[in-house]
Symmetry: C2
Subunit: 250 residues, 2 copies
């Protein structure tokens, strides 16, 4: 590593908290096994983050966010996508947005490194094959993490929960087509509390966030009425309920 501490010159890295709602059984240290009587066959869902384990010092053995040094002619977003593709073989990032910058002079050992952090979301059906040092971890039960990476994951979780409420950001977590029950479980996993499928349907429909496809799925092994399928109207982030209060006059 080239040491280069000329005044005003710093190293810049990007770090991504890549989140996915996925079957808890596929995560390391999943949270408490919840409600055993569940609809889908895949087991309970859990909000998970992608981490790799450091094989070398500093902080050998702790878990880190994927990312790395920004290329000379590289845009920040593209750098994140490149590093996710190269280092952990993840190419299905449906949404990527900036979180904050971490710039404390000694946040990591060695030359001063400023980190731009990102939230990335991977939709449910995708299950990329990961390198051996890489794994999904339940956000509710994080391992010992390197440097300031734990805070970044917390930021990501908070941002996701907030945007689930006032944007269509769940498009980046859900499959193309889904039943309201499936979508409900995704919301429950991401938010960490129970959401009612009926009301979720009404809220998202009135805002135009989801659209019925007209397709009907087959009912599961245990019977039950076959569910109607929906899709997200847009595949890019859209704010749907901007103001919590003090709305502009109509």
């Amino acid at each position: 590593m080239i040491e280069n501490m000329v005044h005003g010159s710093t190293t810049h890295e990007v770090l991504a908290a890549v989140l996915q709602v996925r079957p808890a059984s596929d995560c390391i240290n999943a949270g408490q096994p919840d409600d055993p009587r569940r609809s889908s066959d895949t087991g309970p869902l859990e909000l998970a983050v992608l981490l790799w384990q450091r094989a070398l010092d500093p902080q050998k053995g702790t878990w880190s966010l994927p990312g790395g040094r920004l290329g000379d002619e590289e845009d920040l977003d593209l750098s994140v996508r490149r590093q996710l593709a190269e280092k952990v073989d993840v190419r299905d990032v449906a949404h990527l947005e900036q979180l904050s910058v971490f710039g404390e002079p000694h946040r990591v050992p060695g030359p001063r490194t400023i980190a731009s952090t990102f939230l990335g979301l991977v939709p449910l059906p995708a299950d990329p094959t990961l390198p051996p040092d890489t794994a999904w971890h339940a956000v509710s039960n994080l391992p010992e993490m390197a440097f300031d990476h734990r805070i970044i994951v917390e930021h990501a979780r908070t941002r996701l929960a907030a945007k689930l409420s006032y944007t269509n950001i769940a498009f980046a977590l859900a499959p193309d087509e889904f039943s309201m029950s499936e979508l409900r479980e995704i919301y429950c996993a991401a938010l960490g509390y129970q959401v009612d499928a009926t009301n979720l349907q009404r809220v998202l429909s009135r805002r135009g966030v989801i659209t019925a496809t007209g397709h009907i799925a087959r009912s599961g092994r245990s019977g039950g009425r076959p569910p109607a399928l929906y899709r997200f109207t847009d595949q890019a982030l859209r704010v749907t309920d901007e103001f919590a209060a003090l709305k502009p006059p109509t």
Copy 2:
């Protein structure tokens, strides 16, 4: 300027969009002179941003946000505060928060420079004496601006408007003590639309954002009942109404 394009090494700057709600007459290019019959004696209020005019190329004559190169051992927030104090003599920043990072490789000429951008707020009574090349500009009527600085101001305005709705961020715009009419005008100026003082009172009181001081101001020259005075309960940012929808069960 030291050219230093060693791989991975970049220059880092901070840029601040410093906003204040202030008498429109003190701003360059204030918006349309609104409603002439107004309460206060200072004239209509306007949301303004602090800019300095470039005396040299590149982009000579255009207006820039205050900021500059990050110091070697300097935290980002402190760097912003230092540069505001040194370069434009502003020390009354009541609130400072990160906006996004701009990292396109050629966003400015010369060596690659990544900019961390910030929103700063200055409360109303403060009126720092500015250097001659520096002035407040109405956000509704920005001059020709350098590089990507106009976008940054737009981000700042959007962020402020959003947070006025679900946080106590107005503490950083208002004086220590104020009547509801005064606060109403601040909200109107910052949001760009009419807000009702009665309802503003109720919303902010119920949330505990403002507290009555018990003091009563004197009525103005044109008579009228003397207004009760209030203050913000907290002098730091607090989220008061987190979820727009999909609230967690009680």
